[in-house]
Symmetry: C2
Subunit: 263 residues, 2 copies
């Protein structure tokens, strides 16, 4: 058993220029939407529902609140485990913490996606980030900022439709990651995970989910409906993304936070 305090030097990304920040000077940001009846799910998925069991004073005299809840794994801010689209790959509980915790970069395509709800992130977007900020570090958590997080929870604008059920699927319009960019990331930059502020890593008009297939075949988890990406710097943040640990799950509710240097 170790009894001494630890002073941890986190060299978050690269180390070209270092600056010491104490724990109390770290600012934690919540990148998670909350779960309620307003939470956006895939149009064919079971939405989040809460049942109140108690919210009152008991006969014994103390106040007691408790609820039951139910949902699909894939809705709200959530994890896609690799098994979601890749048979035999990691289930939710099998994903190593290393793939959920680490340095993060934010690739901001929001100005390009603003006028195009079918925008596809391509390798050129990633290379433009590198031209501005230096090489994407190996083994980073890559967060794609399309600007869609600002549309939450306006279902019509966020999904492109207010319909539910199978007839909504052809009407889905939101940006995503093109298969070419997924392939480039897997082959060239080996990310720990890839997140996005839209309902899906593949864009709304996808019917084959190639980006899911490419990332998950490489056991790279996905984070979807991520919030507040406009509040993160392009590099230098540190993400902790902890899903509900569902045994054998294909995904699940995700609480994702990021540490940045306090101003």
């Amino acid at each position: 058993m170790r009894r001494l305090p630890i002073l941890v030097l986190l060299c978050l990304l690269g180390c070209g220029r270092r600056e010491a920040v104490s724990l109390d000077r770290l600012q934690w940001l919540d990148l998670s939407h909350d779960f309620s009846s307003e939470t956006i799910y895939w149009p064919t998925a079971k939405p989040f529902q809460m049942e109140i069991v108690s919210a009152q004073r008991t006969p014994a005299g103390y106040y007691y609140a408790a609820n039951n809840f139910s949902a699909a794994e894939h809705g709200g801010t959530h994890l896609d485990a690799p098994v979601h689209f890749a048979e035999g790959q990691w289930t939710t509980d099998q994903i190593p913490l290393r793939n959920l915790i680490g340095p993060a970069v934010v690739v901001d395509v929001s100005s390009r996606a603003a006028g195009n709800s079918d925008y596809l992130v391509r390798p050129e977007d990633l290379q433009a980030w590198e031209a501005a900020h230096g090489p994407l570090p190996d083994s980073a958590i890559i967060l794609i900022h399309t600007g869609w997080g600002k549309l939450w929870p306006d279902r019509a604008r966020y999904l492109g439709t207010t319909k539910s059920g199978p007839e909504a699927i052809p009407e889905l319009h939101f940006p995503g990651v093109d298969a070419s960019a997924a392939r480039w990331l897997v082959d060239q930059r080996h990310p720990r995970a890839v997140g996005i502020d839209t309902p899906s890593l593949d864009y709304g008009q996808s019917s084959t989910f190639d980006t899911h297939q490419i990332l998950f075949a490489a056991n790279i988890p996905g984070f979807e409906n991520v919030a507040n990406l406009d509040q993160l710097p392009p590099r230098g943040s540190w993400v902790v993304a902890l899903p509900m640990k569902i045994k054998g799950g294909s995904g699940g509710p995700l609480r994702i936070v990021a540490a940045v240097r306090a101003k």
Copy 2:
């Protein structure tokens, strides 16, 4: 937008003796049990259930796995939000990240609880920790290690009964935190949160849940059914405990991890 990497100095607990550790030298431990049909819930609560929606190749040719799930908020490794026993206090989504992330200490009472499934942690246990390790730091996450985590998922030994429903309640036997210790912590050490490796902060024989009431009246959240506390040092670890962000929730599934210096 900040473009420079950050080097973070985390002075985890006190700073009497510092040691620099890089991010890659941090070891992350999972303090969470998984959710499955084996997961232990309070005998009167709705257990975790998973419904398989798909686990097969689709007509379009790609593999697709997805599930629905349902549960009570209070089961498995989970959060107790202060509103669980204190009307008007924080709901799950209202708890600041500051109360979920921070330096942790482990108070090990496992040798004293080993022969007594009704063991109650008292102020003397906390003061014994201080005699051995120095003052409990202000604003720490206090984790109570009773040894019960090793009994999971053996319901008979972990809960004291295999019954379910109201008739199980009088037969519950597991250690907890006495009201006197809860009061001492609230008044003297102002913890961010209090966790334990049993089903409840109050011991199994409690019928009034005084420790819940005392902590939650002070807006101090609880973490229950925490796993692997035998793997943490008494001090010097750093905990990130992220609950599913249920709006208006009284608790919810919790993924809790800890960083320690790698050996």
